[in-house]
Amino acid sequence: AQSVTQLDSQVPVFEEAPVELRCNYSSSVSVYLFWYVQYPNQGLQLLLKYLSGSTLVKGINGFEAEFNKSQTSFHLRKPSVHISDTAEYFCAVSHIQGAQKLVFGQGTRLTINP
């Protein structure tokens, strides 16, 4: 079984400051890793994914994440945030085989202050 832990439930940041949202996972088998963003009253939008290859993954809206297998982490970063980045962010894992089932973390609410 897999599990995902997002270490911060809320992260307040000032506009134009850098941000890191932390994600650790647990799995006995190889997994794919994802970050999704959820704006109020909307579904989930894919920010980026790690399937294989380079451990540094670049996504949309200036976000990037680094896969660290030894630390079982997949932290999300952005060098300079904007008000429009205010949203809920979810880290998720999926087995590389079998049903396409995503296991999500509890989410991190990112609040950008002017």
Binding site: V4, Y32, F34, Y36, N41, Q42, G43, L44, Q45, L46, K49, L51, S52, F90, A92, S94, I96, G98, A99, Q100, K101, L102, V103, F104, G105, Q106, G107
Partner: protein
Amino acid sequence: DAGVTQSPTHLIKTRGQHVTLRCSPISGHKSVSWYQQVLGQGPQFIFQYYEKEERGRGNFPDRFSARQFPNYSSELNVNALLLGDSALYLCASSLVLRRPGGRSPLHFGNGTRLTVT
């Protein structure tokens, strides 16, 4: 192109009733998955359907069922509603990649907000 569409957007039911939620995938996507998102939590996997067959099931009671139609749209049915079934129900569609190591990402709809009173 239209994204994943779900209907209705909001629904209020009373305990013991039955509900049907509907989902139309992105054109060309043959896999549909359902997730339940309780307020303040991450989404939880309920079902995946592909080619009208159940390909995966999460830890949900038999009151939850689903089906997929020949046009790849899907319905989620919940019987004997409980207060705890109040949640945002998300549908996601994806391509099915047959090559090794292939995984098409899930594309989510905006969900159906179900309130059980």
